[in-house]
Subunit: 313 residues, 6 copies
């Protein structure tokens, strides 16, 4: 079972809207090597896990990383939504042209025709989509779960490294600070997960020599990344274990396989940052309520909530 708290796993720096950056980030959300994929892959691997009871730390490692990835989906999705707010109203064209088209001579949503993915404005309401950066919908065929422990770990190591490689490339594609704050965080956490799967393979006898981390580029030359590396965030593994039964810490310990001189350690979860509700977008008919419907909502919001006791508890 899962619980949710109203917190983002990392803070999104405030910057200008940037639909092109939003589209590049879609690869990190809905791409073949993005967060939806890692999330689903590890949740399936944990759910279908087979083995000797002694292998519980391996299952717990998969479950813990998988649970973190749900929060990564939440983080990168929210970042995309914020980057898309570069719509007509934002750009100083705040007239009543939206409800009275042609009033100011401008076409309100024409920005959408030149953007990376027109669906951001046409199918969604300036929000994240479960697709990659060229618009391919996420596919269940991405999920790899052979059931063979060594293969699953090897694939996961490759998967995290590819995710990190792609995010390094995205970092270099945009200098938008909102985009980079999330990308930098995910580069560092991908390295933490690389360490996790590499370490699990070390426990089975592999010695990685000097090939890790992948890519070998010195991501610490990216300032936002360096700040997080200095905090050692690449060497901590969270269990996100609500009942603290996870044994993943048995695997994630000792020297980092990334050869950066750090020691690996385990914690339950980071602190987080409060989630806020995104503003309306009238030109997208979102939420699309007129005054009457809105007043019904406001009436609902004023009702005193008395939490009922549930029979299941």
């Amino acid at each position: 079972m899962y619980l949710h708290t109203e917190q983002l796993i990392n803070e999104i720096v405030v910057d200008e809207p940037d639909p092109a950056a939003a589209n590049a980030l879609q690869e990190g959300l809905g791409g073949q090597f993005g967060e939806m994929r890692t999330m689903m892959q590890y949740l399936f691997q944990s759910m279908n896990f087979r083995g000797d009871p002694a292998s519980k730390p391996y299952k717990d490692l998969l479950q813990g990383v998988g649970t973190e990835e749900i929060s990564h989906v939440e983080l990168i999705g929210t970042t995309i939504a914020r980057l898309l707010d570069g719509s007509p109203e934002y750009q100083g064209k705040k007239t009543d042209s939206v409800d009275k088209p042609g009033a100011g001579g401008a076409t309100p949503l024409k920005i959408a025709l030149d953007t990376g993915n027109i669906h951001h404005y046409l199918v969604g309401a300036q929000g994240a989509l479960p697709v990659d950066a060229v618009g391919n919908p996420w596919s269940g065929s991405y999920v790899y779960n052979s059931g063979n422990l060594v293969l699953d770990l090897l694939y996961n190591l490759m998967l995290e490294s590819t995710g990190r490689l792609q995010k390094c490339r995205i970092y270099e594609m945009t200098d938008n600070k909102a985009a980079r704050s999330t990308i930098a965080y995910l580069i560092v956490r991908d390295q933490a997960h690389e360490n996790a799967f590499a370490k699990a393979l070390e426990s089975l006898g592999v010695n990685w020599g000097g090939v890790l981390p992948i890519p070998k580029t010195n991501a610490e030359k990216f300032p936002e990344v360096k700040k997080l590396l200095d905090k050692g965030l690449q060497s901590i593994q969270y269990t996100f274990s609500g009942d603290n039964l996870s044994q993943a810490g048995k695997l994630y310990r000792g020297a980092s396989p990334s050869n950066d001189g750090t020691e690996l350690s385990t914690a339950v979860m980071p602190e987080g940052v409060p989630i806020t509700i995104a503003p309306e977008r009238r030109e997208e008919f979102s939420p699309g309520l007129d005054a009457e419907l809105l007043s019904l909502i406001q009436a609902t919001a004023e009702i005193e909530l008395k939490n009922a006791d549930a029979p299941g508890e």
Copy 2:
């Protein structure tokens, strides 16, 4: 952010393996109207939610149902894996034929050639797959999130009702008790979610008359379903809110739109049932470890875990 506890949201009754039933249940997991879809749809709708601050109960309702769906994915996926354990070893053919093919004249995995989805034995290791009952991979194109609040609620009501319709059909396709215990639970929870979205539309002025629940069939004639209805499980909404900030209870209250005379109420989460690790399947090379690798794992498991303090805590 999300937390995980090592508990299934409902108990899976023990019964014989049944690969055909397992395949039918795939529709409820990875089908167009299955749990992966409801989960993703509500998480995207909550993440991209726009509106007046007063509309927080609507966002919280979406988030709460979405979080519950992750646990439903876990439940139905685990049920499928258990139903698939009807492999060679189970069926009394427990010889050493797996490692010595042809030893007994039997082909160990030939069961796979006649099963609903050969991938259950060929691509996975007798575990659940992110596909539907005819093998189509789950697709991101299923997710609906128009951003228009009325439309999103209307779609969700239709989605839960269709999910309930399909599960009623699956119920009638198999009498396997393991399959039925999970299907019955999900039929009742789908009705709870139907109630949630119907009630939210009531708050905006719709009067449903006598059309709910959909389908109108008396599911209480299914004994496993009736037991849960008698407990009132169709009229409780869980928030799965780890910090108890959810305001979904403001919407989920009063008389049930299902016309069954119950009052709606809200709770944080149900009790749950401990998760166990699935047994090995040597004929599937899962986990595929030889004695040497296994002893390395057992050595790891004996290490005393000393949980490190994390900087983020």
Copy 3:
């Protein structure tokens, strides 16, 4: 603009239900070379047609065949629905077991687990689906419309011949009379369309020698086919032209390129057979109405209809 009449283009012979045959027929409906594809391909080719005004007969030929294909979709879809009615009630198990599961010890829909496509019973309510015989959904990528007249005609000739080839194979897969009555009709009409596109290429200078029809098998050895060939149905082209403006007849005339000694001729449309409403399937919750909803419907049906005058008329 299109009009519809409540008639099927050919009669469906009555025979036993046969879900396996229904599934084979899905290839003829939603397969890459099925009726949905020919329909869409010709409608797009006609809609996007470019050329000298003198080329109108070519556009009209495409439009006429395309319009006929909509009626073929209707015919084969209806045939599939009838072949699927081999559900619990039909098979003499007509007890109240559907609404009282387990009453008779039987699982009502278990037939679905062994059928060609479980979606016929799980996603649809024993009706046709827009998929092929292995469950692949129909795809817009099938449609070919290069805009080059010679190429489009050449493709269409190949497409009709492939459709005819596949239907000859389906004919040999089943001896169900309902299935064969529709398949035989479509084999003959595919040949009529082969003739149409072959003749149009003849008008541009090609001489087909003895290669037509494709396949060269003597389909007249199939009794149901022979009956239609004897009526000359392979050598008539319908325009389905509601305003009788079609000039397709300028192309479809003279000796048949199929070398069967017939002369080609043109007509508006065949006579047709009245369409009836399919019976309920309570075990599929279709239409899923309880007594109260049904009485509301019956009340509606009794209202005297007074056709309003429309401004557009």
Copy 4:
């Protein structure tokens, strides 16, 4: 059976070519909530319809709207083709550069590299494609037909509303008059269909309160839309019934559920506008005939057509 008349259902205003607008309109043609989808969904729902004979008005409503959608496909597809005619020749670059590349220093089709969908120039010949605005091919998996009447009506209401929402967004993306004339017409007709499905649900007891139409935006502020609303086009339902047997008028009557004070009424079909043949595009090799082939075609066109009598008539 279906008939075709050589008329478009609404007039397309003449304006400049606009490939970006053409691409946005593709969503309305081949998108998940576009006209190909509504057309196919209603035709399947009508074909597979099950129920008491008294339910014929519901089947007829589905059939009538479905038939209208074929004409909408024709209308929006033709509009896209016209918007794509902004190719080299149009833009005043009419030299012989097409057949003599490089003659003028310009690359004739380079416009295609910057357009919304390069396939409009590369795969098709400046014509409509069965894809959405990001190039995804239309998929049979879009079609929803549960067989449960309430669910199918609820889905259709949501589908028409989503179509209307997306078209309102497209309206605001472009001020091209050709594009807007078709979009405005479809916005109003989508509302007519919203009314149809909402009214059918009213007949089953639902009271919509003030939530309709969806979106609630005042589309009458779009001038092209207002003109059609003033004619009452949102409150007329066409049967497109060639034999006038449709009973859909029993459902589509009384006060509009859109709360606009109009009364609903039914007619057979609107007047329409003659269809013309699109001009050649030599740079696209469309129709790709040389002088010799063209003269063969012209010879064919001069043949006196003597319509043969068909046995089927």
Copy 5:
């Protein structure tokens, strides 16, 4: 550039037809981890290879394995076609029922309705298809080519191991000798390729300890596999280098990383087995020629061929 010789890379043992086994083998041909995928992945990796000139042995290794995979596609495809020859004529029902349907009371192709993939008989003519074992078409999205050398090698190692894992599972699903002869050969060659990529990573510093080969099951317990292992076929790498310029041998040398005590070595290509033409299948209209067309072909075959000299032409 590529050359072809009329030889299969390994002999296919003769055995009974077996459509179910044919379908399982489709995973090895067109599945996500099958031969079409390895072939395309390595050819793209070689084609897009970037690096210091000193890295040529790595490019050559990729090219050599990729070229071998084209021959594997040929081998497994041919095996599938042979396994599918279990059609009507084969099974002793050799009557004239094919051309005279119903003559003997039997439906000639009814076997197709119960087979693994009906498309084997309906779309193809008892030949291999580019799909996996549940009918999903092969997809370009399978190809992995990050451009990062370490990642590409790591992926390839995982890919070959997964291919080997799946083939071990297929081996256990069938005891058909034709199927097993090809599967056994590919199990051993997959291990040779595992060795190749593992060795290349060794050259970059990785020490695999005892984890290879994957899966760890003792495939030598499969008799057909053991025979090939005894010949050392798992430790030879072919270059398939027509001009003998490949430097792959610089990498594939020294002790095997599979810990089986063998030394790795390199050769150009194996001997091979002549390819023969498959027999006709009249019931599939394949090749579908009547006597007249066949005589035209035979006349062509008798023409004296005078091979022109070409190289520079």
Copy 6:
């Protein structure tokens, strides 16, 4: 079996990088009518070929053209990779900004956000992808192999003609010399293959009159094409037969069906042009090696290769 030589089938002229042209060429590589498709289609048709032994020339023709297409994949893929080298370093922005982002104020990879397919920079490392010009992955569903000889030949003729049509369109979209050198070569070779399949159908009795080649546009007006036509390259067929057993020359002889007055002739293979290794792209982390890993590679390259004898030879 297949052999590879380190030669491209035609020379790629050197010109400026041009990512937009690279993207257009993707249609020729991974599009529905591109080289991957022709390659796979003919290899499957040859592999699954059924017929009288006299029909060997037809099988050999398919095999020979199919083998040539593998070299076309290599040629067009390499061309795309070269066209993509318009990355930051190339464009004179060669600073240390790649490893020190923001150093010069520029974002190194921002070019990727405006390019035809962002995946060229994000998923691949400025290399070719197995997708079409709008990013759709290549699909196995493209492959046509009915088993009926006449139909397969007819399809292939249409396929080559469509490929040629699309390449003529691409030619007109760009004046980049590297792109045009490859496109011109493929236009001429497509015509050679059109001739091959048209001639094979002539051997079965068809007379093409004046419709070939398709498209009828005078491609000789494209200067790069004319140069190759003057050499007669459209009238030579290569067998790529390593053991010279091909009998394709029996079909490819006599007057060209393209009506250009040439005689058809057959050769084994053309001369070719040496393949070189592409330069590194550090900003793409390709090959992504640091100094230490590179020195390991260089050490490997210095090892003296002693080619082992293989048992299979």
